[in-house]
Symmetry: C2
Subunit: 478 residues, 2 copies
Amino acid sequence: MSKKKFVKAVTSRDDDFAQWYTDVVLKTGLADYAPVKGCMVIRPYGFALWENIKNIADGKFKETGHQNAYFPLLIPENFLRKEAEHFEGFSPEVLWVTQGGDKELTERLLIRPTSETMICTMYAKWIQSYRDLPVLMNQWCNVVRWEKTTRPFLRTSEFLWQEGHTVHETKKEAEEETLRMLEIYRQIAEENMAMPVILGRKSEKEKFAGADKTYTMEAMMYDGKALQAGTSHYLAENFSKMFGITFLGRDGQEHYGWSTSWGVSTRLIGGLIMVHGDDRGLRIPPKVAPTQVVIVPIGLEKGNIGEKADEIYARLKDKFRVKLDTREEYSIGWKFNEWEMKGIPVRLEFGNKELSEGYITAFRRDKLEKIKLSFNNLEQELEDLLNTIQNDMYNDAKERMESKIYKFDDYYKLKEWSKDSNGFAKIMWSGDMEDEEKLREDTGLTIRCIPFDEEKISDKCIISGKDAKHMVYVAKAY
Amino acid sequence: MSKKKFVKAVTSRDDDFAQWYTDVVLKTGLADYAPVKGCMVIRPYGFALWENIKNIADGKFKETGHQNAYFPLLIPENFLRKEAEHFEGFSPEVLWVTQGGDKELTERLLIRPTSETMICTMYAKWIQSYRDLPVLMNQWCNVVRWEKTTRPFLRTSEFLWQEGHTVHETKKEAEEETLRMLEIYRQIAEENMAMPVILGRKSEKEKFAGADKTYTMEAMMYDGKALQAGTSHYLAENFSKMFGITFLGRDGQEHYGWSTSWGVSTRLIGGLIMVHGDDRGLRIPPKVAPTQVVIVPIGLEKGNIGEKADEIYARLKDKFRVKLDTREEYSIGWKFNEWEMKGIPVRLEFGNKELSEGYITAFRRDKLEKIKLSFNNLEQELEDLLNTIQNDMYNDAKERMESKIYKFDDYYKLKEWSKDSNGFAKIMWSGDMEDEEKLREDTGLTIRCIPFDEEKISDKCIISGKDAKHMVYVAKAY
């Protein structure tokens, strides 16, 4: 049987980053374009990655006392209209259901773009007393935002996400919850996806429609652009007042509940691709990789290689997510290319030579390096190697991010830099929305966040020369 | 602090079964009515039950080689029109999206009632050769069917389900897959939910719109009505022909793929309630119970009861799904009532007396019996008890079902029985749809299935007197 030729090579990411991204998504089988405007199909490889991220997040939500629930997909129009800012923010992207069978509906229904309005309506019914608080719920679901410009994972008309919605007795508890969930998002991104992030607060202009404060984690992609990778909103009493979430307090008085909401989505996968991918395709950190280790025996037709491969697979299969590739219709080179493109963290290769000398060759996808693992102590050495890879991937991405963070105190220089901005800039800002808008018009840069650890670069706003109020990160963004 | 009085008692199931069902759903916190026609909110307790069922099913799907994926919620109108029977079956219940933001869409989109049309469109693109087969995918998602009469879990306008969609090289493989998945559904129902089912094939009238054959599992509810609890469809080449799923065969010729689809939904929870519930509320089989064991210490204010409760909880918490109830504002009676209503399989109670004598009292929710478990050997005895409860619940339900299966060979007697039918009837049927329709008009009974183990009751169809072709189960159904 003639061996198949590997023909799936991806565009170089330095030549054309957008095309590189599309190649990686399509050719690795993460997703495909769906025949509906702006929608994607998440294929099994992409979905397995999402399941791993989801399971980690779900475990952390449950550990912190949250419970999953499920609320309806469809929301009556009048619910969305209750909170004015929220309506204004979401109505341009909303899909409307107007007919059921061959009948017109009496009231239009919208497909949820987010569920505050539905969930607050139910909370108003369920919450009576301080004894019912806190309410800590989360749902994993699909949402739809009818966007004009879309890209698989990064921005799609329909996407999968989780949305947490909580109500608390006090302002302080709600504020703490908002930050607790941001910290959990940081752990998911940094500790599991090896994707370093900058934490901070959104400006008034960039915050969630209806929130009092929005906190964000911003990740830097390979091309230096920012990706808003997760947000946590402190809603104060805003939604409680509009939806009537009141409770009898310990003082015998009626109070409004203090609420939060927070979400991460399949967008995280877009971030993972653009932080870790290289010219050979994906690189997936071990903790979230659908397959952590692939075994590619060499010279299957010879001696006892096949038996040894089965033996190694049997030793590893309950400890790691492992695949054994014994396909005969593909050449070794083809297999290597395929698994590298798919970003499997470790490939184990061996033939008679390795076996006779008591080792296995491990290929590290992250560094493209080969090392020897002892046959007898394979399990332990492999576990150590996967941990090393996880840490190295994080450190490399962190180092790259830090090397692309610049400081500016001169607007002319910032504008020049922005023409080909390859990273984030730290600048001083007056805090005024008009200056923020001028910046965007002049440069295409947006304020990504006001970080928790502001640094003083100068006394004056770089844009207007007014007194500076905050140091902010600015960047072009996905 | 005055102890709260327990005021949540449910209606007796023999007095008013429909009201009993509603009481159980609402008062145990499984679900609530949503403010959208025919929709429900699945509350945390109901969702935890769904997660347990889902995880068991998902594990079985993966063990048999299926992979999860995700396809779009929205389907272009022309896709649904491609398969004529399928369109006719689903279009009366479809919700149509016609507007995005403030613009009319150029083509109406429907919210998926099931995803054959979308998934087959993608399969046509992905499948080229016999080497690509079988394709074995599943998705967990929400679907919408705009139904007239709804009831939480049993029939809701939106529900959660899984839908498996597979394509095979041969007719035989597709037929085997259809039955393999039916068998997995049987295991989920009988071995995990302790819900006995009857397996068989649907009549032409009752089969899935577009299928060649539909297989079903039918469960008997407490009131004797049938619940179609899961279906598996052999689609032959029907959808492949309409959607162009072809592959290059081993013979070098172009062939149509042989496909299947199969699904179970949140409806299973409705079945669980109506098979196992009693006048005190829910009874949940241990294998799927969100909480398997609740510890209720008695006399918390005395001696070292609190410490002992913590110790027992610590011993059990990694082995079982266990809750410790040390709330002070509720009386012991209230707690007992609440946990019984919620259907927790085992309640552990103890005070100073038990401790000094070295045992713990276990209350079995299924039999309403108390037994003694040894303090020292608690883990093992509890595990055994949960297994016993699981088996007893299945055997009790099975015995009840069998005691309510009747045979009829006289149409007058069948009609009399049908007025107050409390179970399933086995009858002989000609196989003609006109007789099936006459039966429904005369009696309200529908053919639930043609079982795999047909028994010969007589030679003649009980309805028309024609030659009998099949023995069938008939019943009123949810």
